[in-house]
Symmetry: C2
Subunit: 177 residues, 2 copies
């Protein structure tokens, strides 16, 4: 694999999907990429609910398009609901920090990993951080002690066009010493 930067450039939020289901095998590969992500002390503070049944997909879409946000996720044909699990750190670190200190960063890495694998399989994704938590929790039978971290929409993109990314200029975010 020589061109990771190329993949990083083509991964983008997909907001319009074809009416075409995502194959189970591809969903499994996507989760496998998240499973291999690095985490503090290899604590792997994550688990995933993959939503592929059309009726449930529609309900997750409804739960995610609230307050006028995320409206464009209505056409996604699958969702991955990412849950935060208890992180078990090695003793030396656990003496210094709360066990969940690094969990959010670890989950962020796992989510990016699954989006990149989706992209490399020709799929589009969109990460949503705002949703109707109680509704989603009830719908997917998620126990109260597990926090819902993110909901990732997945599907075949309607357009192949790669948009120019809007980012802060390189020189503004880096300093060499």
């Amino acid at each position: 694999m020589e061109d990771f930067l190329e993949l990083a450039k083509t991964r983008q939020s997909c907001r319009d999907y074809l009416d075409k289901p995502v194959e189970r095998e591809k969903l499994e590969r996507i989760i496998e990429a998240a499973r291999l992500a690095p985490s503090a002390c290899n604590s792997q503070p994550w688990s995933f609910v993959v939503v592929e049944t059309p009726a449930t997909v529609a309900e997750v879409a409804d739960s995610t398009t609230i307050l006028g946000i995320n409206k464009y996720l209505k056409s996604a044909t699958a969702f991955i609901v990412v849950l935060e699990e208890t992180a078990e750190l090695i003793q030396k670190l656990a003496q210094l920090v709360d066990s969940q200190t690094h969990a959010q960063g670890d989950l962020g890495a796992a989510v990016l990993s699954l989006c990149l694998e989706a992209e490399s399989l020709g799929l589009g994704t969109c990460i949503a951080g705002v949703f109707d938590r109680p509704r989603l929790r009830k719908l997917l039978d998620i126990p109260p002690e597990k926090k819902i971290f993110m909901v990732v929409a997945v599907g075949y993109p309607k357009s192949e066009r790669v948009r120019e990314k809007s980012r802060k200029p390189f020189a503004e975010i880096v300093r060499f010493v």
Copy 2:
């Protein structure tokens, strides 16, 4: 780019580096990969101090090998110190959550992105979440309002061997509905 899963498998924590400096151009590509990472409302809550001067590299290594943790980072020839910046969210989201709610996850994604680009350039990385913060802050002139998120060691790996990853079994972390 067809084989992201292959890259995800080969990326691993590198704990022993060759005594060979990392080219500036490669360090720039690594930061570029982080710069392209996704973030909540495209808030990009990150900046980077790239440490490449040998004397400073040695001091960062010292600051990172505390409490018997991270001893193996002594041979790294560069470090990337990742800082948390203020996230500017769109108004709709800012009304719902504290501006930094998603920053840790976003930073985790940026860190994975830079590690993956390093891997694709033949470099090794190791992410360290424990370090002597006051010492690092003073050494790198980091203002008190910026939080140091992670320190990433970078260098040419001494060994090409890809270790088998130890992860929770697939079936334990995923549920299809």
